[in-house]
Each structure stands twice: as C-alpha cells, then as structure tokens.
C-alpha cells in the first residue's frame, strides 16, 4: 500500500497500534551487536519455535520482537517482557521455555534471571529502575531496543514518520532550518558543528543539485552507537535525512556505511525498501510532490573515509583522500555540488526535534550544548553498554553511577574519549561535564561517542603508542606532516615503551606534535597527536618511569617487565598449553618453572592463570 496523504499515514498508525494492543504482552529479544555476539539469535529462534508450539491465549508470535541494542550489553543476551519491563539477563536457550511459561503465559518472574544490583544485592525486575538505565536520558536512542529491528509498522505505531508528515505539510524548508538552528543541535560525529547552520549554508548556495549524506563510517575504534542505531532503528535515520533533504531542497541522498557493519547495510536496505513501498521515500512522498531517494554506499575499510571530503570521494568510487578545505564541502561536496553531511546520531535527533519542538530540545543538556549524547561505554568498566545522557553530565556520573565503577573494584586511571583524535582524562577530571567544549578544553574531544574506561593495568604510553600506530596505518599518505610526522611520533612512543628514550625525546614529541597539528591537511593529522599529548599532560610520571627507572608501572610494556611463577602455582598446566615458546615446564600438580631466556613476555600465561600464580614485575 502506498500512502498518498498524511491522513493515510495517521490511519495506518491507528491500525498498527490497534493490532499491537491485541497482544497482552510483548517479548523483546535484544539482537544488538553485543547480544548477537553472545548468541542472541539462537534465543530469538528458540522463542519463535516454542511460542508457535504453545499457542498462548492473547499472544501470538507477532508479539515477539527481535530488537536493536537495548543498551546493557554486559548483561546480554537480554530479554524484556513488556508491559512492566521485566528484564532478563544472560539468558540461555534453555531458559526460554520457563520464561514463556511463567512470564508470558502468567505474570510471574523467573527470579534467577533478574538483574541483581551489586550494591544492595537486591534483584530488580523493571529495567528502567536499574542504575544503568535510571540515569540516562534517551532521545536519539528512544526507540532503539523497544521496537522490532526492521519493522516499519512498529516504527510508525510508536509515532514514527509523524515528524516527516508535519515537516512536509505544515512547515517550509526555512522554517525547518530555523527550528533545527533554535534547537541548538550540534553534529554528533565529532566536531560539533551546528547542524542548522550547515543546512542553511547548503540551501543558500545556488545550484541545480544538492545532496544529503549520512556519515555511518563510525571509524572510532571502540564506538558502536551508530552501528546500533543503523541496525536497530534505521527508520529514524531515514526520517531525519528526508526532513533534511526537504529543508535544503535535495532529491538524492546517500548513507555511507562502514564495511565492518554488514548487518547495518542489510537493515538499512530493508528499511529503505519498506519506506519506498509505503511512499515515504522515493517519488511524491506522502502525495506532497516532494521526491527524495536514498542509496547505500558501502565503505571499504579506511578510517580516513569518515572525513567529509574523503567520504565524498569514496562515494564517487575513488580513492578516499581528503582535499584542502578552502571551500567547505557543504558548498562544494559530492560531485562538486552543495552537500549536507551529518552523522547518524545527528539525523536520528532530527525527527524528535521537529516532533516536540526546538524549545523542548534546547532545554535539555548544557549551555551551547543542547540535547543528549550517545556513548558506547566500554573498557574496564563494570557495566559496558550503549548509553545516552544529557550533555553536561559529569564523567563521574557516567562511569560510576551508570557504569557501576571499575571491574573488580580496581582503581580508575583514565577515560578515553574522541578515539584517535581524542585524549585520555585522569581522575582529577572526573567532575568535568561531558559536552563538546569542556572536553576540548581539557585536551580531549567529544568524538563520535566512544568512551573507553581504563584501570591501573592500562599503560598510558602503550595507549598513546596504540593510537599512533592506528593512525600511521590509516593516514592516507597525501600530506607529509601527517604521513611522516605521525610515523616519527609513533617511533618515539615505541622508544619510550622500550625504555630507550631520554627526556629530550619528550620535548621532541611536543615539538613534532605541534608541527603535525599545524601542517596537516585534514582532521586526521590535525588531531592525531591528541592521544600522546593528553597522556603526556596528565600522566607525565608514567612516561618518566619508563625513561628514568626503565619501569612500566602498569606492567604492560614488554621490554620493561618480567613474568614469574610464584609458589601459589597449583600445577594445572594451563599456562604450559598456551606458552608458544615452550618457556614454561613442569608436571601436573607440581609448581611450574619459567625459563626467562625463552620467555617472549606475551602474557598468555598471566591471562590464563586462574590461581594468581603468575606475577608481572
């Protein structure tokens, strides 16, 4: 059925809502990235099979939803029974039947699968009451995890495409741009450029053609918010893009998706087809005469292609090398035409802004940083997962209240934001409000939303070396400061990590960084030295320990550590099995010995030892 007016869309919504109400309950099986990796698909399949067999009154298999990321990945696979939000964690296929018998057929709970609050030791039934969720504020992720992944009817039932209908029939392009400008929405892809201003510029350039592109490259290693949105709630991205296209007067759009995200491509493609079939995308959208089409462009594994000008070259089938931006890509972008490029999360915010109004949105968050930001909270934090908080929330609140603190109650050491362009912030910055400007001032960056928590076992020199190594690989090589400068910076950090550096090398790092920042062509080089500079700023002592004492305090840098087997060894032989150089010998039940001459310090024995009998020093 093609919808040829907004009235028909409203009718469809009423119908979908009525259909959903027929079911007394809804079973949501999280099929987000984390839960899938933990085997969620098997659980969803099992639910389907058992539900078909059991035939429960007032419930049909249609009320079983495979959803996108619900958020609390650490506890996955997750299953939620609505209404009531009964939240089951670490579900296994063998639990499925019991959940159905007790929580779908009846109103009971399976106590052992509930989340247990580590502080109070009490089980919590309703997910919204769990600390991890209670401190969040969801706008871009509002529908994610609550609706079936690729189900346009579910999306519409929840109010989806109402913003588009409003924009197309009750607003002009200028009005929409004003609304987005007033909302204060800043781009969520990293730099935080005002979205409304970008749209205005694009609209004001004289041109026969304009493009709207969604940046789904998500190159920041450690970030998966965009992946979760594209897979789990693709329609919100499409809706945001169509509204943007109408506002600036574009009829062609692209979504550039990272090649590592095959499922995002599949789900977006499905969503595009569903929207086209209903007349929400394509020619004469909702009978208003406005036409817009979206194509998916798959990335091919290059971090630099997240950068605007490189991305546009890649969309055009070329090598993704950035160009100097004397003229910005919003003026001269894809095929030299004016182009709006926004991040996935930026677009996902747009329908909500149009729907609820700029003033409502502008009230959320902090000064000049309205709204919320999604983060992937990962690393050595207890509650890993996908979160969304109001801008201005402190790092402490995110890491300790939502994140539940550090795994094993180890000391907090640093939090990394902004990926390879960002920095590491120490304990003393924990009360920093998280917004674009505060993070930049502290020497880090908002970035696209990776937030990686580190404990005392993480070496800051190693982290700086890691990011530089990443950037050396990913630098496109077009400009010399980035290609050669980052390479030399990487070598210098290797030197520090191997205990061969002098204090003079540290000042060389600073000088060289300055050159790379000033001289590089694009953001990759311009922000590339951030990780090394921020770790040197906040963790100077650790650098000095490597240099003066030839010691790696975190026990990570290989050249500076030794492994030993202590008398606590039970002789379980686990380490012998993993030691690639056969440096460990011994008999079952007897304390093993480690031959230092053969040891390559790979740390495999340390990682497998269950008895804390391997010591690093």
């Amino acid at each position: 059925m093609r919808l040829s007016s907004t009235g028909q869309l409203t009718q469809l919504r009423t119908k979908c809502q009525a259909a959903a109400k027929k079911h007394k309950k809804k079973v949501l099986v999280c099929c987000g990235p984390g839960c899938l990796a933990a085997g969620a698909q098997k659980i969803a399949d099992r639910f389907r099979t058992v539900l078909k067999q059991k035939r429960i009154a007032g419930f049909s298999v249609q009320a079983l939803k495979e959803t996108g990321c619900h958020g609390f990945c650490e506890q996955g696979p997750l299953v939620v029974i609505e209404p009531g939000g009964t939240f089951y964690t670490k579900v296994k296929t063998r639990d499925v039947e019991e959940i159905i018998d007790r929580s779908v057929r009846k109103d009971e709970v399976v106590q052992r699968l509930l989340y247990k609050d580590p502080r109070s030791g009490k089980s919590i039934r309703d997910w919204a009451k769990i600390d991890f969720y209670a401190h969040q504020n969801r706008i871009a992720l509002q529908k994610l995890g609550q609706i079936a992944q690729c189900d346009i009817e579910d999306y519409i039932a929840g109010g989806g495409y109402a913003a588009l209908a409003k924009a197309l029939t009750k607003m002009t392009g200028d009005r929409i741009i004003d609304e987005v400008t007033t909302s204060g929405l800043r781009g969520r892809g990293g730099a935080g450029f005002a979205a409304g201003r970008k749209w205005r510029t694009c609209k004001d350039v004289q041109s026969d053609t304009r493009y709207v592109i969604c940046n789904g490259d998500e190159g920041d290693p450690g970030a998966f918010m965009d992946r979760a949105i594209m897979e789990g709630d693709p329609h919100s991205v499409l809706e945001g893009m169509i509204i943007a296209a109408f506002a600036v007067g574009s009829s062609e759009g692209y979504i550039y998706v990272r090649e590592e995200y095959p499922l995002a491509v599949v789900n977006l493609q499905k969503a595009i087809e569903q929207a086209e079939a209903l007349g929400l995308l394509g020619n004469d959208i909702l009978g208003t005469g406005f036409s817009f089409s979206i194509k998916i462009s798959r990335g091919a594994g290059a971090f630099v292609c997240g950068e605007s000008s490189a991305l546009m070259k890649s969309v055009a089938g070329q090598v993704g090398e950035p160009r100097a931006k004397y003229i910005r890509s919003v003026i001269k972008g894809l095929h030299d035409r004016p182009t709006v490029l926004n991040n996935v999360e930026t677009f996902a915010n747009v329908p909500v802004i149009i729907d609820r109004g700029a003033d409502w949105f502008a009230k959320i968050g902090a000064k000049n940083n309205s709204g919320t930001k999604a983060f992937s909270l990962v690393g050595k934090v207890r509650n890993t997962g996908l979160i969304e908080v109001a801008m201005g929330t402190t790092l402490r609140k995110i890491i300790f209240d939502i994140g539940g603190g550090i795994i094993g109650d180890r000391p907090f050491k640093a939090v990394q934001t902004g990926g390879p362009s960002g920095g590491c912030l120490p304990q003393s910055q924990l009360d920093l409000p998280v917004d674009f400007d505060s993070l930049t001032k502290a020497g880090s960056m908002m970035g696209s939303g990776g937030m990686i928590v580190m404990d005392d076992k993480t070496c800051m020199v190693d982290v700086a070396k890691y990011f530089l190594g990443f950037l050396v690989e990913e630098s496109c090589g077009k400009c010399v400061p980035c290609r050669e400068g980052l390479y030399q910076l990487h070598r210098l950090t290797i030197k520090v990590s191997e205990g061969r550096a002098t204090e003079e090398d540290l000042s060389t790092i600073e000088k060289l960084s300055e050159m790379v920042i000033i001289g590089s062509l694009c953001g990759l080089g311009k922000s590339g030295p951030n990780p090394v500079l921020s770790t040197m700023k906040y963790f100077k002592d650790e650098y000095l320990a490597h240099i003066r004492d030839k010691r790696c305090p975190a026990g990570v840098c290989r050249e500076l550590i030794t492994y030993e087997i202590t008398p606590d060894c039970t002789g379980c032989m686990a380490c012998i099995a993993v030691c690639a150089t056969h440096a460990i010998t011994g008999k079952k039940g007897k304390v093993h010995t480690l031959d230092q001459a053969k040891c390559t310090k790979c740390g495999a024995c340390y990682a497998v030892c269950q008895h804390d009998a391997v010591l690093v020093s």
Partner: protein, 151 residues
C-alpha cells in the same frame, strides 16, 4: 593463476557502467572470489572504462580488498581500542604462533587466514574474534583451539 571470469558479468550487471561503481564492483568481486584476481581487475577497468592504474590504486588503498587469495577460514581479530586494552594482542600472538602465520597472511594450504580489524562494534564483548562471519567474545587466550577448529 587462471580464474574463472564467468562470474564477472553478473556482477557488472548490478551497477551502472560508470567509474562511480568501481568500489561497489570490486567489493562484489572480493566477496565472490575472496580476493581480487588480476584478470578481474583488468576486466573491471575495461568494462567501467577506468584506467587500470586507477583500479589498482583503489584496490590497494582500501583495507577491504586483497590481491592474494584468502584461506577457507578467515580469522579476524579485533584490535580496536577496547579489545586492545582487554588483551587482543595476546590473542593475536597465540593464534599467530599456533597457525605459524602472521596477521595478513594465509597458511600455504589455503586453510586459514589471520587478519586484524579495528573495532567491529561489539566492544561490549571485547576482546572479539570473528571467524568467517561468526562473532566470539570475550575470547580468552586458551580459546585458540575452539577458534581454529570450531565452525
């Protein structure tokens, strides 16, 4: 090496014959053959009317493309930030020493390839290893047997 180029026309048919389709075509060839045979590159250049040098430059710029055949089982180790600080390197070394190849290489019998990738978006399960399409995580150093032998 000679490769059956018979599967190429079907791929070319999916896209407009223009230089813009280059990356998409190469991606499909990569998927079909598990690498980009040199004959296929020449054919792509001819059909899309792009200089062979351009085709070659795109094939070598992007990490997704390989000019060498890959093993039946491709083991991709995530070395993204989260996986890195949760011990991806140990897992990489363990697999490398067990299979006697380095990341980026393929065993001579074409059974295994090891690759590294920077974040696959499953950081919550770090460290993550993907064998063919299947995600594993959190992976332990002692899991190498399961990864190598399992399906």
């Amino acid at each position: 090496m000679n490769h059956d180029l018979g599967r190429l026309p079907a791929i070319f048919k999916r896209y407009p014959k223009s230089p813009e389709s280059l990356i998409a075509v190469l991606q499909d060839i990569q998927k079909e053959y598990q690498f980009l045979p040199s004959e296929a590159l020449a054919e792509t250049a001819r059909v899309l009317e792009v200089p062979l040098s351009k085709v070659f430059s795109v094939s070598t710029f992007y990490n997704a493309f390989s000019l060498h055949p890959k093993g039946e089982k491709v083991i991709r180790i995530c070395v993204g930030t989260t996986c890195h600080i949760r011990g991806a390197k140990q897992i990489q070394e363990q697999l490398e020493s067990q299979l006697k190849i380095k990341a980026g290489e393929t065993t001579p019998d074409l059974k295994f390839s090891i690759e590294t990738v920077s974040c696959v978006g499953a950081c919550a399960k770090a460290p993550v290893v993907i064998v063919n399409e299947k995600y594993h995580g959190p992976v332990k150093v002692s899991d190498y047997k399961k990864l190598v032998k399992g399906k």
